[in-house]
């Protein structure tokens, strides 16, 4: 009887499309043949199976959270060598283990071993998260549970469904990469200045917070997890606090995180005041008027958008992400923003049951602005990590854009297209997590080797650090969405979504969406330009500083391994996107009740989101084609042995001679055309002062050029608010004059007024 196998394949719900092509025909027979005449024992089996799956999946998820906690706690032992030694004396271990332990616990080895242990546990939690995610995506059902914490009448509700599972996947992959990368990176910190205990503890809490946010199923628990995430990451941002700029960034970050959290609380509050209870199930039942729903939506957008960093409330992001240790920046920029996206999706598509197309338009416009603004700001940054942070703003903008499209289609009654949009957004979130982690970790390596993040100090590193440069190149290619890499696939899907605009009736939308799609194209092109600049300035040309002249390939294998892992995934999912699409179909199914027809027609090598007639893309074929063409030309052109070798010669210097590194194009030179074309976007402060000398002061002795490019949001949005609060405080301060008679006067007047009030 084939049932068990089929169940195993199709998970809990036999009406799902299978993810394995091989069993499809059998599955179809099962669905349409004798499905409803299924023998009784099938259902019994299924229920047992379900229980088992429930336990397994939830245990995996919990284990992931616990491991991240454990790694944090473990990090606290960094200074407790003696006590740990005493403790371990007690536990009985046989010979070999004992020797090994003693070896680990020697004065010299202990810190290193402990750090390794911490990161191993962290990686374990990442691994478990990945497994849990895959498991829940496979068994296409939601597992709920309750933890006996929280309020007496409101224990923590846990719900682990496909959406959470997918984001578990994202978090897990990133955490694994980071924990491979970590040990090599943290060696650089000396203990007394930057205690590892702090770093390890809050890293663990940070990861745990993110995972708990994904698990939360009631507003209270959600907010606790959310704030745990924010606060832990705040401590990580402030980790290198000797630098005032970092402190300022950390404060700004925490402040905006707080404001955002308050907005989210208020949003939940609006829902809760129409529902009974705070569990998400109760909130789903809340039926509120369009006005209140829109208020809730705006609040949620403000809150989650602030965390996700959409323009104009993105200001904390480029400040905070660069100053954290690189693997933390990778987590923040690559994963935490996704958690915010998760929150928005959960709030809008799950809790607010009926969406309105106006919300979609808001998301679309905001997303477009963020995408363009993000990449344009990124282009002007000389600091690599700042640049990457701004490009995160851009990618988040793209994600919001596509979410907006999904909402619009949803509200206009095209659930399938909505599914397409949602899928594109989630896929892009996934990809961005991959390549942004890759790039941030790469930046970490550069900082580690060159002790600077200023792109203008680098150059020519491709010869010094061949592996890093290659992996970084892959990152750049996928982020600037070139074919064969994952970034392209999600943007392709985004374009496909936008192209379905013809089904809409509303003329405004029909003309707005293509324009924003064109803006998306502009964004992609600008991103390509930006990352050409990045790679070219860092790795190509001549070294611009002594550090980069003497730079060496990083010797720690783990750091490179992490990069290799991520780069490999970028490429892999660029070639086999269908794997992710299949997983995402479950999410779409759960949220919108629709899946793509993708796997109806195609096998694993084709990607045809709407229908083969409308659009199709087969990365694998393209890859094969490129390989063939490359190989053939390569072989054909170099078959002649005496012209095969290339002759090296001096670079053409127009006959002047003395070509040196300072004659190269620099960052600001490269982006000068953009600066002139989009001049309005920035606050540009450009100063050239010359020192004249010689007779009549005619000839220039030296020229200094200073360029400062600033965000518009500061003077327009933030300084007014800060100023307002300060002046309000000064006004209020007036009442406390310090004279006791005035104080007596206050209580006298208060008394009189109150008496008058009550005797009315």
């Amino acid at each position: 009887m084939p049932i068990p196998t089929t169940i195993w394949l199709h998970g809990a719900n036999e009406h799902e499309p299978a993810k394995s092509i091989y069993f499809r025909d059998q599955f179809v027979r099962q669905c349409h043949g004798w499905d409803w005449r299924m023998p009784v024992e099938f259902y019994e089996y299924r229920s047992q199976f379900l229980q088992r799956v429930t336990m397994m999946v939830l245990i995996l998820a919990y284990a992931a959270v616990l491991c991240s906690f454990a790694s944090g706690m473990l990090a606290l032992l960094i200074n407790q060598r003696t006590s740990v030694h005493a403790l371990l004396e007690r536990v009985p271990i046989q010979r070999g283990g004992r020797d090994w332990l003693d070896d680990c616990l020697t004065e010299s080895r202990y810190p290193l071993r402990l750090k390794q242990a911490v990161f191993i546990v962290l990686g374990l939690s990442g691994l478990l998260a990945v497994l849990a995610g895959i498991a829940v995506l496979n068994s296409q059902s939601a597992f709920t549970d309750q933890i006996g914490l929280g309020l007496p009448w409101l224990p923590w509700h846990v719900r682990f469904d496909s959406l959470s599972g997918f984001f578990f996947l994202i978090v897990g992959i990133a955490v694994v990469a980071v924990s491979i990368y970590g040990p090599g990176y943290v060696e650089a910190y000396q203990e007394e200045k930057h205690p590892f205990a702090v770093l390890g503890l809050f890293t663990g809490l940070f990861v745990a917070g993110m995972l708990l946010v994904l698990l939360a199923d009631d507003a209270f628990f959600f907010m606790i997890a959310w704030e745990l995430m924010s606060v832990a990451s705040y401590f990580l941002v402030a980790f290198q606090h000797e630098n005032p700029a970092n402190r300022r960034a950390a404060f700004l970050y925490l402040l905006m995180a707080e404001v955002g959290a308050l907005a989210i609380i208020l949003g939940f509050g609006v829902l809760a005041s129409f529902a009974d209870g705070l569990t998400f199930d109760a909130l789903r039942q809340a039926n509120l008027s369009t006005t209140w729903a829109s208020i809730a939506f705006v609040l949620a957008l403000l809150g989650f958008g602030m965390k996700a960093g959409i323009v104009p409330i993105h200001v904390w992001l480029p400040e905070a992400h660069p100053v954290a240790p690189s693997h933390i920046s990778a987590l923040m920029s690559g994963v935490m923003l996704k958690v915010a996206v998760y929150g928005l999706i959960r709030f809008c598509f799950d809790l607010l049951t009926d969406v309105h197309w106006q919300w979609g338009v808001v998301l679309l416009v905001l997303g477009t602005i963020s995408a363009l603004g993000g990449i344009l700001y990124a282009m002007m940054q000389p600091n690599l990590k700042r640049l990457l942070a701004y490009s995160s703003v851009e990618n988040i903008g793209i994600i919001f854009m596509v979410l907006g499209l999904a909402m619009i289609f949803m509200a206009n009654g095209f659930p399938q297209l909505a599914a397409l949009g949602l899928l594109a957004a989630l896929f892009h979130a996934f990809n961005h997590a991959l390549f942004k982690n890759l790039l941030f970790l790469g930046a970490g390596i550069l900082q580690h080797q060159i002790h600077s993040l200023d792109i203008d100090c680098m150059g020519g590193l491709i010869k010094r650090m061949p592996q890093t440069s290659f992996l970084f190149l892959i990152g750049c290619m996928s982020i600037s969405s070139l074919p064969l890499f994952n970034g392209f696939v999600s943007e392709w899907l985004a374009f496909q979504t936008a192209l379905q605009v013809d089904v809409l009736d509303n003329g405004v939308l029909r003309s707005l969406i293509p324009v924003s799609a064109a803006a998306l194209a502009l964004t992609a092109a600008l991103a390509a330009a930006c990352f050409v600049k990045v790679f070219g300035m860092i790795f190509l040309g001549l070294p611009r500083s002594r550090h980069s002249e003497k730079a060496q390939e990083v010797d720690d294998k783990g750091m490179l391994l992490a990069l290799k892992l991520l780069a490999g995934l970028c490429f892999f999912f660029g070639i086999f996107p269908t794997l992710i699409i299949a997983a995402l179909n479950n999410v779409a199914k759960q949220l919108i009740g629709q899946t793509l027809p993708n796997d109806t027609l195609q096998s694993w090598m084709w990607l045809a989101p709407v229908s083969a007639q409308k659009a199709s893309y087969s990365p694998i074929l393209v890859l094969v084609g490129v390989l063939i063409a490359c190989a053939f030309t390569f072989w054909y052109l170099r078959r002649n042995p005496d012209t095969k070798t290339m002759r090296r010669a001096a670079t053409w210097d127009c006959g002047f001679g003395g070509l040196n590194a300072r004659m190269q194009y620099s960052c600001s030179a490269f982006t000068m055309p953009f600066r002139r074309i989009f001049a309005k976007v920035w606050l540009i402060d450009e100063q050239i002062d010359k020192d004249m000398q010689g007779a009549l002061d005619m000839d220039v002795s030296s020229i200094r050029y200073r360029l400062q490019v600033e965000d518009h949001c500061w003077p327009r949005l933030y300084q007014p608010i800060a100023h307002g609060i300060n002046s309000a405080a000064r006004l209020v301060g007036r009442i406390q004059t310090g004279n006791i008679r005035v104080y007596l006067g206050y209580s006298f007047v208060t008394l009189i007024i109150m008496l008058w009030v009550v005797s009315l």
Binding site: S511, A525, T651
Partner: protein, 314 residues
Amino acid sequence: MNWLLAIVQTLLFVALAPLLSGWLKWCKCHLQNRKAPSLLQPYRDLMKLIRKQPVVAEHASWIFTRSPYIIFSAMVLAASVVPLIAVDLPTAASADVIVLVGFFAFARFFLALAGLDIGTAFGGMGSSREMTISSLAEPAMLMAVFTLTMTASTTNLSLAIAHVLNEGLVLRPSFVFAMFALILVAIAETGRVPVDNPTTHLELTMIHEAMILEYSGRHLALIEWASQLKLMLYGVLIANIFWPWGIAQNFSIHALGYGLLAISGKLAALAVFLSISETLVAKMRLFRVQEYLSFAYLLGLLGMLSHIILEASR
């Protein structure tokens, strides 16, 4: 059979590309009262370059030496998805028009990197300008393409062309706008006058040439060939999308031959048009290119809007 045909057509594409530029040069010379080189001159140049031993700048890395192959094969792949003489090719399904744009981006990415690799001022200058122009051109192009794909409701090129073909001669204002937008974009992307001058010898005005200044031997050959391919690709796109008539819909020899004739005729005409315009118009300053391209974008937008409002209004 289809696959074979597709490959053959791709090869044909690659083979004919130098001829087109040769023809273009020929027309230009005659229009400017110069003595024209033979139509086969480009082939001779390529052969000569391929035979030579390449000389590479001392600081160049593998990016510099491998880019030509990548660029060339990207162009070949692009050629394989654009219907030249026949529609509904299997290759067209593997990559639609958006992927086509992706291929161009791919080639451009590596060309720009190669320009930066040697570490001269010119290389950087060329890459910077190239990226600027292309990033401005991309939205305009996408607008034009959208107009087409929304009309044909597909992004698969050969299906779109087949759609235009089957519905016969329909006067679509959107197509007029889209075509002009695409032509302007094509001129910008292929580095022709007035945006860039392929024959210039003054480094400061160079864009495309500045990037490949250091190339020689087979590398230069590949790059040249790739740019000729690009020119032809745009030509074929414009020709086959807006006047698809004559393209083969079944694979009979007679139909194919007819299709070959048709496309060469269209391309020849386009080349004449291009050479006339290049003779009449002078190259413009770099920072007026943005106006030029935004005008292209405007045209594309008008095309889109007229499609939405005039043609498919509900």
